[in-house]
């Protein structure tokens, strides 16, 4: 394998696929699925076939295929494969353009993962970023503008960080950054720029306000955005903190309970993200918005792990990113299937769909277990690793916030479960059918790894351990079914045995008494006919909780941005009065500017 093969399979092939599927019209998603499938097959075949390749085109470009890249590519490839498979039957408008843009984003994402120099990183990052913009634009220009604002901010921050590094080292390679050419005092600036630049793509607080809108676009794309592309933020932060800078450099800026002061603020930011995302998710009635805020919250966990920087924390963050890629895209696809069949977005208007769409219900149920971190699933292990990392170092702000967020995750996932799939079936949904085959297949593809890795987490922990060892961070203590740490650990085998016993017990309970199905209006209304919405469990869901939080919810970051922009709009209106529309006034300004330049030049020269 050489540089061209690597580049060809993972970047050029999706680009060719993008071109082909643009002309594929109706069959575009199928073509795109085939192309991603090919690149996925190569990805599985080439495990272990790692290496680093340099291309010299005046500046040196470096492509590296290593375990970190492979790990993130695995997520990316699986998620886009199932998202495109899902879109085969979801009857999108202009499907050719959709598949093309998805594949462009995929190519960009692969490029970002392969790049080990800042120039190609930035190029592929922009390719990815712009394809997201165009995909959001398919739904709404307003949402796309919101995304674009933050996308551009992210690009500026990145290019500032890259520019500082290039100024000192004269090289774009990651490996050259640590050659000692950069003064020690400059590093915090570089890292802050890079981390914030990547973090915007991960939607960390306070840069998360684009996410709920972007995540309200077409479901297959959102699944890829949340499951796949947002992980590039995690990847970028991991690379810039632990591969480019390295842990000893981070530690040299001072430590707080063994955690670098460079990383700790970002861990706090991540905790705030997890907390705020979760709290906001609880009160959403729109299923897309709920999942979007949930996505923000879950990526906050990843940020916490990356900020804390102990082997356990980074391992937990990686594992959680991996889990999140699967369960969150599965949830988005499940929501997509429900929306496709019912045409409704609001949880309070749905209900009882589990009887009509049993397979979707089953898939979503497992994803929700993983999301809430119920102790059977891989989601539990990753969260538990993060808790242990925080608790073992006695972080009294991070750990409680994580705990609250975790309980909150349970609350909002219960809202999906109960509001959408359980409860009374609405009259108008009596004839809803199960989601079409490709959709079920797509969700199945995402669920199977979740189940497998829940039973044998050791496989993923093995890969993560390799990543940690390769970057010189440390190593994890793990076996096929469990891991152990200084203050505990977890053993999946025990959990599963307990689960199976409980399941048998529950089955016995269930079989002992036959349930009776009654009509919605027949049970406890005594002939009264209130508006049907008031009967729904999801109506005014969590009202007491909302009342409790009301003083806090008044202060919204969205509103803060709005005030900020209004303030500036007013200022610009005043400035606008300079532009009178009279050319002679402009000539006078030119004269004044000329005078000013003369004065400055005169003062400078003599």
């Amino acid at each position: 394998m050489d540089a061209l093969t690597l580049f060809g399979i993972f970047v050029l092939l999706p680009l060719v696929g993008a071109l082909v599927s643009y002309f594929g019209k109706k069959y575009a998603p199928i073509i795109a699925v085939i192309f991603t499938g090919i690149s996925g097959i190569f990805l599985y075949l080439w495990y272990g076939n790692f290496g680093s390749y340099t291309i010299d085109i005046g500046v040196k470009l470096n492509l590296t295929f290593d375990i970190t890249t492979w790990f993130f590519m695995l997520m990316m490839n699986t998620v886009i494969f199932s998202s495109l498979l899902f879109s085969v039957s979801s009857k999108l408008k202009r499907a050719g353009g959709f598949a093309t843009l998805m594949l462009l984003g995929f190519a960009g994402a692969n490029g970002v993962l392969l790049a080990r120099d800042f120039l190609s990183l930035y190029l592929f990052w922009e390719l990815m970023s712009w394809s997201i913009y165009l995909l959001v634009l398919r739904t709404s220009g307003e949402y796309a503008r919101r995304y674009l604002l933050f996308g551009v901010l992210s690009a500026y921050l990145l290019i500032m960080g890259i520019g500082i590094i290039y100024y000192y080292t004269g090289s774009f390679l990651y490996a050259d950054a640590l050659s000692g050419a950069i003064p020690h005092a400059i590093w915090p600036w570089i890292l802050t720029f890079l981390i914030l630049g990547f973090g915007i793509k991960m939607a960390i607080v306070p840069f998360h306000v684009w996410a709920p809108y972007a995540y309200s676009s077409e479901q297959p794309f959102v699944a890829f955005l949340s499951g796949g592309l947002s992980k590039l933020g995690a990847f970028g932060i991991f690379m810039s903190m632990y591969s480019i800078a390295g842990i000893s450099l981070l530690q040299s800026f001072g430590t707080f309970r063994g955690v670098s002061l460079m990383g700790y603020p970002f861990a706090l930011l991540g905790a705030a993200t997890a907390f705020i995302g979760t709290i906001l998710a609880i009160f959403q009635d729109d299923i897309r918005k709920l999942l979007a805020y949930s996505s923000i919250g879950q990526l906050g966990y990843v940020m916490i792990g990356l900020g804390l920087g102990t082997p356990l924390a980074i391992g937990g963050a990686m594992f959680h990113a991996f889990n999140h890629a699967f369960f969150k895209s599965l949830l988005f696809l499940g929501a997509g299937a429900v929306i496709y069949r019912t045409g409704k977005y609001k949880i309070s208007e749905m209900g009882g769909l589990g009887y009509r769409m049993p397979f979707t219900f089953m898939f979503v149920l497992f994803a929700i277990f993983a999301l809430a971190g119920i102790p059977l699933t891989s989601g539990f292990i990753s969260k538990w690793m993060l808790y242990e990392a925080a608790i073992s170092r006695k972080f009294v702000i991070v750990a409680p916030l994580m705990l609250i967020a975790s309980v909150g995750a349970y609350l909002y996932s219960y809202r999906i479960l109960y509001g959408v799939f359980l409860g009374q079936l609405k009259d108008e949904d009596k004839n809803v059918k199960e989601a079409p085959g490709p959709m079920l297949a797509a969700m199945f593809i995402l669920m199977v790894p979740l189940v497998i890795f829940s039973i044998v987490p050791g496989w993923i922990l093995g890969w993560i351990n390799k990543i940690l060892v390769e970057n010189g961070i440390g190593k994890l203590n793990y076996t096929t079914f469990s891991y152990s740490s200084a203050i505990g650990g977890a053993n999946m085998a025990v959990f599963w045995i307990a689960f199976i016993l409980l399941l048998i017990f529950a089955m016995l309970m269930f079989m002992a008494k036959k349930a009776r199905v009654v009509d919605q209006y027949d049970n406890y209304l005594a002939g009264e006919a209130p508006p049907s919405v008031a009967l729904h469990a999801a109506h005014n869901y969590y009202k007491p909780l909302r009342d409790t939080w009301a003083p806090l919810l008044k202060h919204s970051i969205d509103r803060a941005y709005e005030k900020f922009s209004k303030f500036f709009a007013g200022g610009f209106y005043e400035i606008k009065r300079i532009y009178t529309g009279n050319p002679q006034d402009y000539a006078a300004y030119l004269g004044i500017a000329f005078l000013a330049f003369l004065l400055v030049g005169w003062w400078l020269l003599w």
Partner: protein, 111 residues
């Protein structure tokens, strides 16, 4: 000691600037631009002057004046007149549309 040539060219530039800012007639403004143009050309040529030197034509010996400003100004004059003609034809077009050359009235008509 400031040189009288510089003073003269700067005076031309300042007069042109005054016309452009204060006068309300389009053709007058264009004339003002032309005066500024002439002032700048004169300034350039006078900077390139050398005392007791001849024109830079090398069939006579002796010190020559600086040829570079002359080469620049030579083309600038021709460009100046063509641009002025363009501006004037735009002014004629505006006159045909609005029936006036006064800037106030033109802007009033536009609103």
């Amino acid at each position: 000691m400031i040189q009288y040539y510089y003073l003269g060219s700067i005076a031309l530039i300042a007069i042109g600037m005054y016309i452009v800012i204060a006068k309300r007639n389009l053709i007058k403004i264009i004339l003002g631009l032309d005066i500024m143009d002439t002032g700048v050309n004169l300034l350039f040529i006078s900077i390139g002057y050398v005392k007791n030197a001849t024109a830079p034509i090398e069939n006579v010996p002796g010190p020559y004046v600086d040829p570079i400003p002359q080469a620049l100004v030579l083309t600038a004059i021709v460009i100046g007149v063509s641009v002025m003609a363009l501006a004037l034809s735009i002014a004629i077009g505006i006159y045909k549309k609005t029936g006036t050359l006064e800037l106030d009235e033109i802007l009033g008509v536009k609103k």
